[in-house]
């Protein structure tokens, strides 16, 4: 099952290596990872999408992450009400004749063209991963020259539904 895990970490050198090393050592598969600074100075947030086989493995993953000295808090936010976004840039083969056709395809995705050249154009799309996937599939027939995705980043919505069985693991709790 795919899970979205977030970890707030102390922004110290080597922390990314610690976390990814730990996941690979214990044979967890990372599908995507994104890291960046947060509102607090010295604290970064990592968002992973991981594929785990069962609940027990998932519990191990969050516990092992929590054990790291530089990891402050780990949450599995998959089942929460969340906002999640990923950005992708797609360089599509195109000529002036195709340009407007492609524009028509990407428009419903609220995607924008950010670069154009003689024989290609680059499209930027933001959204949940399935939306990004859908657009990429639509563009594939034109020929994708280059594709880059940032990986998912996410956090819980300000308002959470009352009844949930969310999972959050933290030593600080």
């Amino acid at each position: 099952m795919k899970r979205i895990i977030t970890a707030t970490v102390q922004n110290r050198s080597g922390v990314l290596n610690r976390v990814t090393g730990l996941l690979s050592k214990r044979q967890f598969n990372i599908e995507s990872i994104s890291v960046g600074r947060t509102e607090t100075e010295g604290v970064s947030k990592m968002t992973f999408v991981v594929d785990v086989s069962d609940e027990q493995k998932l519990e191990q993953l969050t516990k092992q992450l929590n054990k790291q000295i530089d990891v402050l808090k780990v949450s599995d936010i998959t089942d929460k009400a969340i906002v999640a976004r990923e950005l992708a840039m797609v360089k599509v083969i195109s000529n002036p004749q195709l340009r407007s056709e492609i524009q028509g395809i990407i428009e419903p995705f609220r995607s924008t063209i950010i670069d154009v050249s003689k024989d290609s154009m680059t499209v930027q799309v933001t959204g949940k991963s399935d939306k990004v996937d859908a657009l990429i599939e639509l563009l594939r027939p034109y020929g994708i020259k280059e594709l880059a995705r940032t990986g998912l980043t996410a956090f819980p919505r300000g308002n959470q539904p009352q009844v949930t069985d969310m999972k959050s693991y933290s030593l600080l709790k």
């Binding site: 970490v9 102390q10 080597g14 290596n17 191990q60 000295i69 402050l72 030593l171 600080l172």
Partner: protein, 574 residues
């Protein structure tokens, strides 16, 4: 010309360098023993150690691996972190085995490694290695010092992390420019670790759940691991088990946490555990694991591990709970604190005499056994004699393999902090240097290193330390001219194809001892054991005892790999 360090030449008075700050921080932490080996990148550190000579006993091994294993033995017996100093590059990589060993067996170590100067890190400089990268997966935490001002704080953090919660090794990598730089800036010593807050006290709700479960149980059993020893909770465990008459079995590393001679003791469980212990784990309806991590050498095939039991697990490391065995009652807390809390509770148990009778019957019907050919030296018998001659009160260290299992089976431990062995990593060459550290931690005690002929040859260069320090470590080489456990598995599972496991060519261990000015003995018969071993063990001097034991002897009983607790082989003489 012989060079000697000249204490009378007073080192120049000068301002504090990073190395001086390090030495001060170590003194601050109460460190008085260092295990280390100098080299280019730690020259400034060694200069500072030289200036602070009186503060430390510095043990110089002949290979860095000796230093780190000695520090492990020291930590195991003293309960305080073992402190290791090594240089960059090969110095650091030679420490890796010991660091990994300490990680697996939860031993507190603080390891300082030199590093090339910051300006050349990453350029493949002379004796550079990526110590952070190499040690990240095998340490509880590691640091590379970036500014001299943070050095004292990091040393404090390192000792705190190594010795609290679930203990473990911490590496501090110090670039040479940091240790040689002079600093006048104000140093920081206060630290705050928001991501590291080990839970110490048990949750009362969980304790109540456990009390409920115990009061319902008809076949309870306690599995006591080394967590009980780390927490110094043996007395609480004894009280708890004896008050409620709950039988106790131990993991390999947990031996000594409960008196082995107590009626309630089942001895060691697991691959080479006792039949009664493994059957108790198989049949129990409530398993109370205190400070053990359900290692595969204990559980055998997980499908058959405690299949009928409700499992309670007390562990200071939450990640151990539910890792291998589904757990119904998790308690994240210190073992001693939890046992003390359990002892305070009102608990009335069901009558479980039938269970105790069954266990007693298994103990009586399936005791440990071994052949006893006339005159020949049988290793199991030898270990029993070592127990007898030391009144079961010696500190015993081992490597890994047959001799380790025989020591675990036949040297009954009645008190904690007597047993130093490489459990998780299973490191050959561990026992002898660990004995050196143990002896330093317990100068008055008898320390016996039980080693195999294979393992001893991996670290025997440390005989120099015995010679230099006059440490009265007794080395008993259980010599079967083979890598015994490898040979046993080849016999049992590879149709006796003894691929590279027989070691007929060996040094003359007596001459070897002699060359270090130590006494060496060779023992080949039971009579010789009885004649000379008692004196050797009682003497206040080191000894190397080459005991020629039967090569074909195997460790039994056994759970074959992949089999369950109830499928032991070799439980009775054939």
């Amino acid at each position: 010309m012989k060079l000697e360090a000249k204490p009378e030449v007073k080192a120049q008075q000068h301002v504090k360098t990073g190395a001086d700050l390090l030495v001060e921080a170590l003194i601050d932490e109460g460190v008085d023993t260092l295990f280390g080996y100098p080299g280019g990148a730690v020259l400034p550190v060694y200069d500072a150690i030289y200036r602070a000579k009186e503060a430390f006993t510095h043990i110089l091994p002949r290979h860095e691996q000796g230093a780190v294993h000695a520090a492990e033995g020291y930590a195991r017996i003293s309960g305080r972190p073992g402190v290791v100093v090594g240089t960059s590059g090969p110095g650091a990589t030679n420490l890796v085995t010991g660091i990994a060993d300490a990680m697996m067996d939860s031993l507190p170590l603080v390891v300082f490694t030199g590093q090339v100067a910051k300006s050349v890190i990453g350029t493949d400089a002379f004796q550079e290695s990526d110590v952070m990268g190499i040690t990240t997966p095998i340490t509880k935490h590691n640091y590379q010092i970036q500014n001299i001002e943070e050095l004292p704080r990091i040393v404090k953090e390192a000792f705190h992390i190594a010795s609290t919660g679930r203990p473990g090794p911490v590496v501090v990598d110090i670039p040479k420019d940091i240790s040689s730089t002079v600093s006048e800036a104000k140093v920081e010593t206060e630290f705050h670790l928001p991501g590291y807050q080990p839970n110490f006290k048990p949750n009362p709700l969980q304790i109540n759940k456990l009390i409920d479960a115990i009061s319902q149980a008809e076949k309870p059993v306690i599995l006591a691991g080394s967590g009980v020893i780390h927490a110094e909770g043996s007395e609480e465990l004894r009280k708890f088990a004896c008050t409620h008459q709950i039988p106790v079995t131990n993991t390999l590393l947990g031996l000594g946490s409960f008196p082995g001679n107590d009626d309630l003791s089942l001895g060691m469980a697991g691959m080479h555990g006792r039949y009664a212990a493994n059957m108790a784990l198989y049949e129990c309806d409530l398993l109370i694991n205190i400070g053990a991590r359900f290692d595969d050498r204990l559980t055998g095939n997980l499908k058959y591990f405690a299949p009928k039991a409700k499992v309670a697990h007390i562990d200071i490391d939450p990640a151990e709970i539910g890792k291998n065995v589904p757990t119904q009652i998790p308690i994240v807390a210190d073992a001693k604190a939890s046992l003390a809390e359990l002892n305070r509770q009102n608990l009335t148990m069901k009558d479980h005499q039938e269970w105790l009778d069954l266990i007693q019957k298994n103990k009586d019907d399936y005791p440990l056994w071994h052949e006893q050919p006339e005159e020949k030296l049988v290793p199991q018998w030898l270990l029993q004699k070592v127990h007898e001659y030391t009144n079961g009160d010696a500190v015993v260290t081992t490597d890994v393999g047959q001799h380790q299992m025989w020591a675990a089976q036949y040297y009954t431990f009645n008190k904690p902090n007597r047993w130093v062995t490489s459990g998780g990593l299973g490191t050959m060459g561990y026992g002898f240097p660990a004995a050196i550290g143990a002896q330093l931690a317990k100068p008055e005690g008898t320390v016996v290193a039980i080693v195999g002929d294979g393992g001893f040859q991996m670290t025997m260069q440390e005989l120099s330390i015995l010679q230099e320090r006059g440490l009265p470590v007794k080395i008993i080489i259980v010599n079967n001219e083979a890598l015994g456990m490898v040979r046993q598995w080849q016999e049992s599972f590879y149709e006796k194809r003894y691929s590279e496991s027989l070691m007929g060519v060996q040094p003359d261990f007596i001459k070897l001892a002699d060359s270090y000015n130590l006494k060496g003995y060779k023992i080949e018969t039971q009579k010789q054991v009885e004649a000379i071993l008692p004196d050797i063990l009682a003497n206040d001097e080191p000894a190397v005892v080459d005991c020629r034991v039967l090569q074909e002897e195997n460790v039994y009983p056994m759970i074959a790999p992949g089999k369950g607790m109830h499928e032991m082989i070799g439980v009775r003489p054939t």
